[in-house]
């Protein structure tokens, strides 16, 4: 008997679904990044991603299509990440209020601004953080996010819009970027 992973082989019975190994390869960046942006801990994010793929392996026979796999991975990763934070009481490196003032260098260097924004996102409350990560990392619309997080669409929209408001105000104030202060979000 060949294993699902195995050879790492292939799932002969369903041509539409790639092998388990190919699936890991295709989705590893997505799963790892949700964990990374949510936890801001590389080791924890990688461990989370491995656990999610192991769970996928256990449920591999129930997967119906590549879209089903994608939805399943996003859902399980999101819920596991939120559970992990709640269970271990993992705190973000910085709270929104404690987030340090950017240096002069950060004002001019885009990558550092990104890093600053990442830290700010990581300081948001759990559900809001996950909604923002799914919206801007995965480019998912509020309907899809609502399905993944088992929430109402209206609640997701509120979470994202309040989160953006908070982030924009904070970033605009700290970095002195006035254009952020009065722009309207597209949620």
């Amino acid at each position: 008997m060949t294993t699902v992973a195995g050879g790492i082989d292939s799932r002969q019975s369903d041509a539409a679904l790639p092998s388990f190994a190919e699936t890991v390869d295709v989705h590893k960046a997505m799963v790892f990044s949700i964990g990374w942006h949510f936890l801001r801990d590389r080791v924890a994010a990688e461990e989370l991603a491995q656990d999610v793929f192991l769970q996928l392996y256990r449920n591999w026979t129930t997967m119906k299509s590549p879209d089903h796999v994608l939805f399943w991975l996003r859902k399980i990763t999101s819920h596991r990440a939120i559970d992990l934070v709640r269970r271990r009481k993992i705190r973000p490196e910085t709270s929104l209020e404690e987030a340090g003032e950017p240096t002069v260098l950060e004002r001019v260097q885009d990558s550092l601004l990104s890093s600053y924004l990442e830290r700010m996102v990581a300081s948001l409350p759990e559900r809001q953080r996950m909604a923002i990560v799914l919206r801007y990392q995965e480019d998912m619309d509020p309907d899809e996010i609502a399905k993944v997080l088992d929430m109402k669409v209206s609640s997701v929209k509120t979470l994202i819009s309040r989160g953006l408001e908070l982030l924009r105000a904070k970033t605009g104030r700290r970095l002195g970027i006035t254009e952020y202060k009065d722009s309207h979000d597209t949620v």
Binding site: R58, T62, D185
Partner: protein
């Protein structure tokens, strides 16, 4: 999308896990398979449905036993009833004989 949202999107771009991630996942899968081979190809799920068979058989045996007991109880009841009827008939005929004898003596 506003400039801020574009900046946020850029900040939250996907990143790759460290090299060899897929190999590490597959290694864990193999380890798991060695520890619990029943997980292969959903065999565990089939095992679970096989486990239902003895449970169903047990339920069938218990239900059958109860039906047999009920049938036997009813049969015993019927036999007792028949015996009682016979006894009453015998007693009736004896009583009738005694009555006849009394009348003959009186005449």
């Amino acid at each position: 999308m506003t400039p801020f949202e574009r900046q946020l999107k850029k900040a939250l771009e996907r990143r790759e896990p460290s090299d060899g991630f897929t190999d590490r996942v597959l290694m864990r899968v193999h380890q798991q398979d060695r520890i619990d081979p029943s997980l292969r190809n959903g065999f565990l799920q089939r095992i679970r449905s096989w486990r239902l068979i003895p449970v169903l058989a047990g339920a069938l045996i218990i239900t059958g036993g109860i039906a047999v007991q009920r049938y036997e109880r009813e049969a015993r009841g019927e036999a007792a009833k028949r015996q009682l009827m016979v006894a009453m008939r015998i007693a009736g005929s004896k009583l009738h004989g005694a009555q006849m004898a009394v009348r003959e003596v009186e005449q």
